[in-house]
Symmetry: C2
């Protein structure tokens, strides 16, 4: 039931992963989903409808990935764990696409805000378990830092990008824990 919708959304995610926002076209998504563009518009009448549905799925997926990473990590491993989920080019492309979509289409802003707030909330909860004195400001810092590392690495594509990002995140975590108990 509603396999078509699921297929289309999956095709939309694949398209964003590969081409980003600029390459997100209905023909490409339709081809990935195994139907024609003119049929796709039956399920999602406009490009914006499609984008909203795909964005919703992307956010759910990303928050689930964050949960999975934060749940089972020790303090030592958390930096490389965050780096692993943040600096994955496929998901960075999807997240950047959402950011751009939110910038260009005001109707999608709430969606992106939900993503950012969700990640900060999860990071905050996790951080407080490790460092009781940590604040939400620390979580916001870690979030923005992860985003920046991911974006820069996507564009530069250094072979050791993931490792470098993990090192920066680890330094930030160490500083946060030191600052919390001087």
């Amino acid at each position: 039931m509603q396999d078509r919708r699921r297929d289309i959304i999956e095709g939309g995610l694949a398209t964003l992963r590969e081409y980003g926002y600029a390459g997100f076209t209905q023909p490409r998504v339709a081809s990935r989903a195994g139907l024609r563009q003119s049929h796709l518009t039956y399920y999602f009448p406009t490009r914006l409808d499609l984008l909203a549905a795909v964005g919703r799925a992307a956010i759910d997926g990303q928050l689930a990935a964050v949960d999975a990473v934060l749940d089972g990590s020790s303090f030592e491993a958390v930096a490389s764990a965050i780096a692993k989920v943040a600096v994955r080019h496929e998901s960075t492309r999807v997240m950047m696409a959402l950011a751009q979509a939110a910038d260009q289409e005001p109707q999608l802003r709430a969606l992106f805000r939900e993503l950012a707030d969700g990640i900060v909330l999860r990071t905050d909860r996790f951080l407080k378990k490790l460092i009781p004195a940590a604040t939400e400001a620390d979580a916001r810092l870690l979030h923005a830092l992860s985003v920046g590392l991911a974006v820069v690495d996507l564009a530069i594509g250094r072979p050791d990008g993931k490792r470098r990002a993990a090192a920066v995140l680890e330094a930030a975590l160490t500083m946060i824990s030191k600052a919390a108990r001087p």
Copy 2:
């Protein structure tokens, strides 16, 4: 001399500022520059040629802006100064466009890398004047943090985004200076 080229590049920058990478089309750029698309292709035969020239101008401009901000700032003011140059939606759109272009067009990667390295270098030099024990890793952290704050704020568009970004940057700077002399 070569006013046309200059006009076109200026039109390209304006287009990126307003529409981002996805909206960067030759007709739009040409219209901004006061000529037709079919004429624009005489100066820049392909879209990639145009993008490279506009990207070059964007990088020069951004590095100059970073220089201007870092030169005349006290320690107290630097966080809000960085936030001011980083969290400007027009320039964020341009920088994100470059990141995406670099991701999709391998020939543009060197350009983006030059931008990132240039900012880190400048940040490092500035930081060492404020905090002699600061390292390049600290500069990389500040750079990634600025990028992340800018991207997130662009997509969410909070009215007090600039202030919030400045607060996070200030917290990071304070932590760096404390960590450097424990």
